[in-house]
């Protein structure tokens, strides 16, 4: 359909004003995304009043620039110091960090950037061609369908984990249990908060991620008997070689396809997509370098997927007013202030805005690459700082970052506890990635399960009476059954396996 509309969008997005705000957003986003703590939500909140004085297109271009800039920045920290900025970059931390340790941080960062921009281009075309019909997908997904999809995701994460199945399963369940802390959506009851008001909204993802991944990693590195410097091997080329480009091409395309699809489902999309892309990659990657041990595919696919999902998630946001995450909720707020109400008519009522935004996403991704490729050298240099200086800096930034998000001392204690927990997990051979997946998806799983049962007045038949939900659950059962078969178990992939200490 409307490629002429897309041209209209590009015309709007390529004005000097739009380009400036796009650049500003991408720049700010990268800057705040690189360090844990203050995330896109806080930044957008701070900038919201400023956007009041901008035009609607400039405002939303800048805000979305911050959004995907911070996502890219979050991947940077995941690769460099193993602190995923948000759920969607947890997966990137597995192979990306391993690559960085091998001296290939530059290649990993470039792969992430290239994967993002390629995925962004495809997702942009997809939105251009099919935005309206695609918005119907979200309407097809009611509570039972979401529940079935998330069940499948969680079961797949267990099946694909490398270490012992019971241990990965235990981690998923611990993650779900941690996610239960806080106010129950259905009754308002505060669960497992021990009377602590700051726990009323649960434990934040940043706390878990910074504690278990970031600080846990610092303890583990200090505890390692050998060389502590982050880069143990000679720093290799900063830019991917021709062979590496060939290696990442197919994973990027697969990641894009998976991400574009899952991004249409508000809530679960972005996180599920990077996990799903990584799991899918497991089916394809052959050869001596294995996924989980610093494979370039393990960075390319999930990064492409989460970027594609981030873009297609604008479809339910703009056409249904459904925010996929707090950042999207803020953007709806920014639009509403401008007098534009997301809804089915937004495309026809505000074509310049809609298509301008779509075009600017693509331009923004290009800007991100241009902005970040020169920075890669800087990041890699950062890693060469002796660990005895770097470690206290990482700890200080983690603590300040977490305190800065909510001004809560309780959260600082929490990350301290999770750091110890993360180290214990490592010592006893538990993999933290399934825990994070359980933590991120747990609340959705519970919410949708209970909602479905409220609607059906307690009858579990609702899950099998609806075709999409029934199919997804059947698939879950198949995956589970496959896990029991020894032949398949031997081939079971190494998705979440963390590398041993250096």
């Amino acid at each position: 359909m409307d490629m002429s509309q897309l041209a209209l969008g590009f015309a709007a997005a390529l004005t000097p004003e739009s380009l400036f705000y796009c650049f500003l957003g991408a720049f700010l986003g990268t800057a705040i995304g690189v360090l844990p703590g203050i995330g896109a939500t806080a930044t957008i909140a701070l900038l919201l009043p400023i956007t009041l004085s901008l035009g609607p297109l400039s405002a939303i271009i800048m805000l979305s620039g911050i959004y995907y800039g911070s996502q890219y920045g979050g991947s940077t920290t995941a690769i460099l110091i193993r602190i995923p900025g948000e759920g969607s970059s947890v997966v990137t931390a597995i192979d990306g960090y391993r690559m960085a340790q091998r001296g290939e941080a530059g290649v990993a960062l470039a792969t992430a950037a290239i994967g993002s921009v390629v995925a962004g281009s495809f997702a942009t075309l997809l939105i251009g061609a099919l935005a309206l019909p695609l918005s119907a997908v979200a309407l097809k997904f009611g509570a039972p369908e979401y529940f079935a999809l998330i069940t499948l995701g969680l079961i797949a994460s267990v099946t694909l984990a490398h270490g012992s199945v019971p241990k990965s399963l235990a981690m998923v369940i611990v993650g779900i249990m941690l996610s239960m802390v806080g106010t129950d959506l259905y009754t308002g009851t505060r669960r497992l908060t021990f009377g602590e008001r700051s726990l009323a909204d649960g434990i934040s993802f940043v706390v878990i991620s910074v504690g278990i991944f970031g600080l846990g990693e610092v303890i583990r590195t200090i505890g390692a008997p050998t060389d502590r410097d982050l880069i143990t091997a000679k720093v290799q080329g900063l830019f991917p070689t021709r062979a590496q480009f060939r290696q990442m091409a197919a994973p990027i395309l697969r990641g894009t396809a998976i991400g574009s699809l899952l991004g249409l489902l508000p809530g679960a999309g972005a996180t599920l997509s990077s996990f799903a892309a990584y799991a899918a990659e497991k089916r394809f990657v052959r050869g001596p370098h294995k996924l989980g041990h610093g494979a370039i595919e393990g960075v390319a696919a999930p990064e492409a997927a989460n970027n594609a999902a981030a873009q297609t998630s604008f479809i339910p946001m703009l056409t249904l007013g459904l925010p996929a995450n707090p950042v999207m909720a803020l953007m709806i707020g920014a639009l509403v202030i401008q007098g534009i109400r997301p809804g089915p008519n937004v495309i026809s009522a505000n074509p310049t805005l809609f298509w301008g935004l779509v075009a600017s996403m693509w331009i923004g991704n290009l800007i991100l690459v241009v902005l970040n490729l020169p920075l890669i050298r800087l990041w890699v240099m950062l890693l060469r700082i002796p660990y005895r200086y770097l470690a206290p800096a990482i700890v200080a930034l983690c603590v300040m970052g977490v305190y800065g998000t909510a001004f809560s001392v309780a959260e600082v204690w929490l990350i301290t506890g999770f750091a110890a927990f993360g180290y214990a997990l490592y010592r006893f051979g538990f993999e933290p990635a399934p825990l994070l997946m359980g933590f991120v998806l747990g609340p959705l799983l519970e919410e949708q399960l209970r909602r479905a049962l409220i609607i059906s007045k307690g009858s579990p038949l609702i899950f099998v009476e609806r075709p999409i939900s029934a199919a997804l659950l059947a698939l879950s059962v198949l995956v589970l059954a496959a896990m029991m078969l020894p032949r398949l178990r031997r081939r079971r992939a190494t998705v979440f396996q963390e590398p041993e200490a250096i």
Partner: protein, 325 residues
């Protein structure tokens, strides 16, 4: 990176200033930035309206008024923070009907809204509209009530969480019409609305501007607005009272308050300034875009409103048996 440091330093510095400076005298007030605590996330209707009021007050007072979002626990975290702040006029609270008048019936908290806060002015009002899915086959409240009575406990409404106006207004309809429509909670009214469009649930009380596009396209059917006068966004939709639910009149609202003990001259000056801000045509226009009505009040009117609604929702919570453990 520098940007982030600057942001954080700024935030910490502003906190330090608020925390340590002694009580300024009411005459010279304000000599430094005033913090307006908003207990909800940025971007929502409450936040948007708070920012517009803060912007206006900054001009009126000649000092910047900074919005600070302290979210969580259904707004109780922000309220508790404001209650605990020094009553020197440098910390204000921008709260809502829910946080001030329904939460006290639902949660055990350490503060008492009516004792620990002083009212300054009402700041916005927002009507809701009852929308149903077209496949329900009802065209009026009367038909809906008849259908609900014919199958008690079968129909469902979406709520935006326990104690939300979206829930309370539906509970009120249940009580006044003598019907039993079951609650299905969602994370926000947008999710609930989409569930009605998708046919998962039967109805929701939504804000008129949010639902407008889908009402026009026929994806939703509007039955009645909750206030006692018609809504200008939906002039053809009758009020609940007109549609036959006699005595039904409710609108959600927001208000500006300060910690108890804030000097009276400061409260009075804020009330006057707020009234002026909310009479500004530019502000009214921006409010309208957000779907809010610009309304102000005297501190006494607000005090009476809080008392009246606290009683009304308390009765409703009790009668409907809503309980939070």
């Amino acid at each position: 990176m520098n940007r982030r440091h600057a942001l954080m330093a700024l935030a910490i510095a502003s906190l330090a200033v608020t925390g340590t400076a002694g009580a300024a005298s009411a005459q010279s007030w304000p000599t430094k930035p005033v913090v307006m605590v908003v207990p909800f996330a940025p971007g929502g209707a409450t936040d948007v309206s708070a920012r517009l009021v803060a912007e206006g007050l900054s001009k009126e007072l000649g000092q910047s008024v900074v919005v600070e979002n302290r979210t969580g626990a259904a707004g109780n975290i922000g309220v508790a923070y404001a209650v605990g702040a020094r009553p020197d006029g440098y910390t204000l609270l921008f709260a809502t009907m829910g946080t001030l008048t329904t939460n006290p019936h639902l949660y055990k908290e350490t503060f008492d809204v009516q004792k620990d806060l002083v009212p300054i002015s009402k700041t916005f009002e927002v009507d809701h509209v009852l929308v149903v899915k077209p496949s329900l086959g009802v065209n009026s409240i009367q038909e809906l009530v008849a259908l609900a009575k014919s199958k008690p406990g079968e129909l469902t409404y979406g709520s935006a969480g326990i104690g939300s106006s979206v829930q309370m207004f539906a509970v009120m309809l249940n009580m006044m019409a003598g019907i039993d429509v079951r609650q299905v909670p969602y994370k926000g009214s947008a999710e609930a609305r989409v569930a009605v469009v998708g046919g998962e649930i039967d109805m929701v009380m939504d804000s008129p501007p949010s639902a407008l596009a889908q009402i026009r396209s026929g994806a939703l059917k509007a039955l009645a607005v909750t206030n006692d006068k018609r809504n200008e966004t939906l002039p053809d939709v009758p009020t609940m009272a007109e549609a036959g639910i006699t005595g039904y009149a409710a609108s959600a609202w927001g208000a500006l308050l300060a910690p108890a003990g804030t000097p009276q001259p400061i409260v009075d000056r804020l009330a006057t300034a707020t009234r002026k801000v909310l009479a500004d045509p530019a502000v009214i226009e921006k409010y309208k875009k957000t779907g809010l009505g610009a309304v102000s009040s005297s501190p006494e009117e607000l005090r009476a409103l809080i008392a009246a609604d606290t009683k009304r929702w308390g009765d409703m919570v009790k009668a409907a048996g809503i309980k939070v453990e």
